[in-house]
Symmetry: C2
Amino acid sequence: MSEEFLKVARAAREAAAELAPLPRAPKDRALRAIADALVAHTAEIVEANAKDVAQAREQGTPEAMIDRLRLDARRIQAIAEAVHQVADLPDPVGEVIRGSTLPNGLELRQLRVPLGVIGIIYEGRPNVTVDAAALCLKSGNAALLRGSSSAYSSNTVLVRVMQEALERTEVPSGAVQLVPGLTRDSVKELMRARGLVDVLIPRGGASLINSVVEESTVPVIETGVGNCHVYIDADADLDLAVDILINAKAQRPSVCNAAETFLVHAGVADAFVPRALQALKDAGVTVHGDDRIAAYGEVEPATEDDFLAEYLSLDIAAAVVGSLEEAVAHIRRYGSGHTDAIVTRSQQAARRFVSLVDSAAVAVNASTRFTDGAEFGFGAEIGISTQKLHARGPMGLPELTSTKWVYTGEGHLRTSAGTVIPRSGA
Amino acid sequence: MSEEFLKVARAAREAAAELAPLPRAPKDRALRAIADALVAHTAEIVEANAKDVAQAREQGTPEAMIDRLRLDARRIQAIAEAVHQVADLPDPVGEVIRGSTLPNGLELRQLRVPLGVIGIIYEGRPNVTVDAAALCLKSGNAALLRGSSSAYSSNTVLVRVMQEALERTEVPSGAVQLVPGLTRDSVKELMRARGLVDVLIPRGGASLINSVVEESTVPVIETGVGNCHVYIDADADLDLAVDILINAKAQRPSVCNAAETFLVHAGVADAFVPRALQALKDAGVTVHGDDRIAAYGEVEPATEDDFLAEYLSLDIAAAVVGSLEEAVAHIRRYGSGHTDAIVTRSQQAARRFVSLVDSAAVAVNASTRFTDGAEFGFGAEIGISTQKLHARGPMGLPELTSTKWVYTGEGHLRTSAGTVIPRSGA
């Protein structure tokens, strides 16, 4: 590991130990100091960002990506507002999750505690640099940030401004660190920093996430790959079904909770598919359908790859299924375990679908687009976990914590005959 | 991956999908059928076990390990009793952890669901084969068991008896599987079975656990390495301190929650250390002390390795520290994050120690030996997690589950202007 990397990782580790026991008030003061400093340094941030934007333009980056990269005074104001909102949220640390007095008198509590150092690998959106740092600080964690190299100038200034703001607070400035270096090596270093980094959250495409999962010795929380399905049941209200399908696919196609496949029960295919194809066409969506879908209109032929695809575009795969169970089997085979929806009037079908579909979220008569931390009322979101361990679905502040058991006695000893308390002088 | 391994892993996966939606009653019936079958097949199990014992003896295995390996009618009865106890426990699956009606009317619930297929790598105790299978089944998971090769004959028969018992129940018999093969290759196959296995729980020594953590692409829950500390504060009741120290070290030295180091505040070293050394000597414990401990009596000199050691024997490392903070720094540096205890009459010192020590459990005026699923009232325990992600400390049935979000609407759509419900015909 490079000296450079070790230096920031160790600084984050030390800061994490200092930060962990802090109560809410000093953390909130630090967050508000960061928000104010970002606004105060707007000119400097915009200047650094302009370099990133110019470089991206030189490299022929698509305009949509350049837009995600760009910062201006209004956007910096919005980023600062978001930091104030994180300060407004309750502190998860110290929450007593379980507790009891055991039969032997030991007082047992399970408390939320910070995870420690959280490594975050993310795309070229500089606002994530601040959002992620704020969520980590609020939950008592140090943040080790590895943003896209396309935003390196912006991120460097943003992190420096945050560190300088922290220097005037009780939160150690080392708690926010940018991973140095622009190459893939720095991602590798993060992945091998077991003992220095407690958890790694990769955000981005499937290939990044798969490579992190394969190579990381640091525990990973997978986020954000969404091959979401809408299943139109034999008992569906077809008007609702069309509305939900169009909303799930087309309202914002570039996000992970957008639908990528729809499945129609054969019993309603005659009535539903022609209407769906027309509505999708009107919404500018290209349909990649199986043979039975193709019987109802002109569609692109669907391959295995289409059913596996997270298009993130105005494309959707489609198939007719013989039963709810066949829909579930399709989702199990091709889905990514993010969000899958059923449209049905049948209580029994809804219950069965919810029970059989093994995904982070299951929607009944609602668009898949609601799987989101803000929609769920979390106030903030670091990502959407599609794994089963630790956190599943939208991750808010509690998902950035671990727990600690505390038990208090008065000299309690464990013996083969049960608990013995020699005397109570404690 | 070998065909043999893929066959059992796929069978477990299929069984897991069938098992997951089952409610409590059929799972409990299946567990009781297993318990009865084990007792009914006592002769066959004992015969297979005798082969393992004979082979272990031939290989010069220490008597203590042979004792852990041995099964007789009484022990099989006890194993069956333990299965009945798991049946008596509440079912974690389906528990609603959080839930609300969102401002837009969506009904949101977070439910406990099974993890899926749980791989367990464990030591040469055939009772674990049944315990682990029972805990997995109760929590709706399929178990993929990789026991020690020293118990292979016993495990083969135990798993066959369990599978045959399941064939007469609603739980698919494929839900309990023994990983075929005796070599380390089968451990490697388990570690690379991402997509087939949802979580891997290695039980055993630090070297096994480290190699699994390094090499596994399946998410891992680390268990059981315990370098536990007892810190005797300046304000300690020294009578209690001696009792707790001796209990934590000597009551059962071979377990992970036994103490491996004690740290004494310099302010009470004169009064405490000579008494502690005498009491430890009387209990047959060898002390590996630093220079300041050595000033009070004859001890082995302590090296770095002693402070890092999980002795699991009648040995203990010891050091004098200048302050509570120095004790915490020692624990952070050398500890394994399992259980650390403070003995003190001071509320402030207790509060500070609890806040600063970053371990799965912190004990105040109590022996470290209480960090245990049964002592905590869990009814059963699959291991003690020393990692921060997903589960920390003793793991009972809820720790063998994931969660699923379910939201139900009546045609809820997400728009840039907020939620829209076109009509309510759902």
